[in-house]
């Protein structure tokens, strides 16, 4: 609809200087897409978790024995 008449008319200053000041503003860090993990990495992490758990269990058992 290009022919619709607008009731607002554009106002351009005829006198004086038109100036725009570029004020530096603080910036936010950008949103972060999270990288997906490769199968190998997931398996590594899983194995590491399991190993840590196993060691913890053994240490607990050792403590109970010594008590």
């Amino acid at each position: 609809m290009p022919e619709v008449k607008s009731i607002f008319r554009e106002v351009l200053p005829k006198q004086g200087q038109l100036s725009m000041e570029d004020v530096p503003t603080m910036i936010l860090c950008k949103p972060k897409l999270l990288p997906l993990k490769s199968v190998t990495l997931e398996k590594l992490e899983k194995m590491q978790m399991e190993a840590q758990e196993a060691v913890k269990q053994q240490e607990l058992a050792m403590k109970e024995q010594s008590l």
């Binding site: 530096p24 936010l28 897409l33 490769s38 190998t40 990495l41």
Partner: protein, 505 residues
């Protein structure tokens, strides 16, 4: 009388169904009855190996010692476009830091993370030592103290009767004569025990027994040399193996050697050579794409990832990388299609839902945004992930103008991960809007010390100091910002202004 199945057959069946613990248990019983049962012994070694098997072509971990005391580099300052260590040298028309966040090593973040990309190369010793303290992925002091050795010792600890095979009492010469046992034994020593020196001994004797004609043993020798850090020897073995037999894996191992030697161009040529023999091979194409990505040449990396997808349209890495590239080149709706495709393929984790949420928000599909983030929060596996998800929700809150929610989100991100530098920076911006200058300054300083590679905290600190009249601090902060991101226009304008001030004094 009940008829029972032959135990060895049952063990084999368990092995084929990947029930390795049951398989190993049966083999243990068989070995108790007859300690010289070679079939049971061999099967048990294979079961143990499979339990901890990881794809060796994918694994790569550089310790601080290997990084900083590097003997293999040819030049201190490599020419642009020939090294993986100068991340900023070849801009392939990708988005700048102003749009795409950087990792600590100064590379744009990628859509996919592998063991080798987890931690890039820091520039200085100080940074190298500092990095593990701030990131969720810790860097070991040397490759020998890394993950491998921890896995190896853990597997021994869990066995109350001590290790299955006592390597120090093993007569390697005897085993190397028996081809049907030596291979499984080698894999057991290499993967399960992580005893590379013994593995190397066995491989050397076995290859001698095979009269240096067996490509398999040469590849294994190369793998051992690689783990021991003898890259030139590894290269020789792999080259020699390729002369006997063209195998895709050997190309991948050899390329890994060249990447470690910081010769990406040689690696690229090698991959292309491999593609002549194996046209359209997905792993080779992926290798090329990864090198381009590491050299900061995102555009051509994307081209190669597209080639990968032409061969294998379910390749998660390629889809994720192309998706993230679209997101950061201002096309979130296309990125959304790629991530949706991953969802259709059955990838179901926190990272994917987080990315979907972000894409939905920036593609103006507001109905899906919050539900995606809710799912992401329900699927988190660690505190660091939770922090990242809250950080991104904070961005959505900023986008809809709900600054109170944004404030709370960034605070939550910090509650889950106290080293989240981005959250500190954004929180500082919000604090300044509330007029709390001191608090804002404190947050910015924290962010800057946590992540010196980011330019945002330095730049913000510079503006803040400039506003309160502390021109000297403003100037130093602006200089740091320029170091982190030389092309940033606002920083340069600020610096110019400050220099004019100082000149007028």
């Amino acid at each position: 009388m009940e008829v029972t199945m032959d135990p060895l057959f049952l063990a084999w069946s368990y092995f084929r169904r990947r029930k390795f613990q049951q398989c190993a248990d049966i083999c243990t019983k068989l070995l108790q009855d007859g300690p010289y049962d070679q079939a049971a012994w061999s099967l048990k070694t294979r079961a143990f190996t499979e339990m901890v098997y990881i794809d060796e072509t994918e694994v790569d971990q550089e310790g601080i010692a290997e990084l900083m005391l590097d003997e293999s580099s040819i030049a201190q300052v490599a020419r642009p476009g020939t090294s993986l260590r100068l991340p900023g040298t070849s801009q392939g028309g990708g988005p700048t830091q102003a749009v795409r966040p950087m990792t600590q090593s100064g590379r744009p973040i990628t859509g996919f993370v592998r063991p080798s990309t987890q931690s890039g190369r820091p520039g200085t010793m100080e940074q190298a030592i500092k990095t593990p303290r701030t990131a969720s992925t810790a860097r070991p002091v040397t490759g020998a103290t890394g993950r491998f050795i921890r896995l190896g010792t853990a597997s021994m600890l869990t066995n109350p009767d001590g290790p299955f095979i006592n390597l120090s009492r093993l007569n390697l010469a005897k085993y190397s004569q028996k081809p049907h046992l030596s291979r499984t034994l080698f894999e057991y020593i290499f993967h399960h025990e992580n005893d590379i020196k013994n593995a190397l001994d066995l491989a050397a004797q076995a290859t001698e027994h095979a009269q240096f004609k067996d490509w398999w043993w040469k590849v294994q020798l190369g793998k051992c040399y690689y783990r021991l850090g003898l890259y030139r020897e590894a290269e020789k073995q792999f080259r020699s193996a390729l002369n006997h037999q063209e195998v895709v894996d050997t190309y991948l191992y050899l390329a890994k050697v060249y990447q470690r030697l910081d010769q990406p161009i040689t690696a690229l040529n090698l991959f292309k050579q491999g593609l002549d023999h194996f046209p359209g091979e997905v792993t080779l194409l992926t290798g090329i794409a990864r090198i381009h990505e590491e050299m900061n040449n995102i555009t051509s990396a994307t081209e190669y990832y597209k080639d990968v997808l032409k061969q294998d349209n379910t390749h998660v890495e390629a889809i994720a990388c192309i998706g993230s590239n679209h997101f950061y080149t201002d096309q979130p709706e296309i990125a959304l299609r790629f991530y949706r495709r991953l969802l259709q393929m059955g990838v179901y984790n926190c990272q994917l839902y987080n990315n979907l949420g972000l894409c939905c928000f920036y593609a103006q599909q507001y109905d899906m945004t919050l539900s995606s983030f809710e799912r992401a929060l329900a699927l988190v596996a660690s505190d660091e992930e939770q922090a990242d998800v809250w950080y991104n929700i904070g961005h959505v809150a900023v986008g809809i103008g709900d600054l109170t929610l944004a404030y709370q989100c960034f605070k939550l991100a910090l509650a889950f991960n106290n080293d989240h530098a981005e959250a500190y920076n954004n929180l500082a911006v919000l604090e300044l809007r509330k007029g709390r200058v001191e608090q804002s300054k404190a947050f910015l300083q924290t962010a800057a010390s946590l992540a010196p590679h980011m330019y945002e905290p330095h730049f913000n600190l510079s503006i803040l100091s400039d506003k309160i009249g502390d021109l000297q601090s403003s100037y130093t902060a602006a200089q740091k910002s320029e170091d982190a991101f030389p092309e940033h226009v606002d920083t340069q304008q600020l610096l110019k202004l400050l220099r004019e001030h100082f000149a007028a004094l």
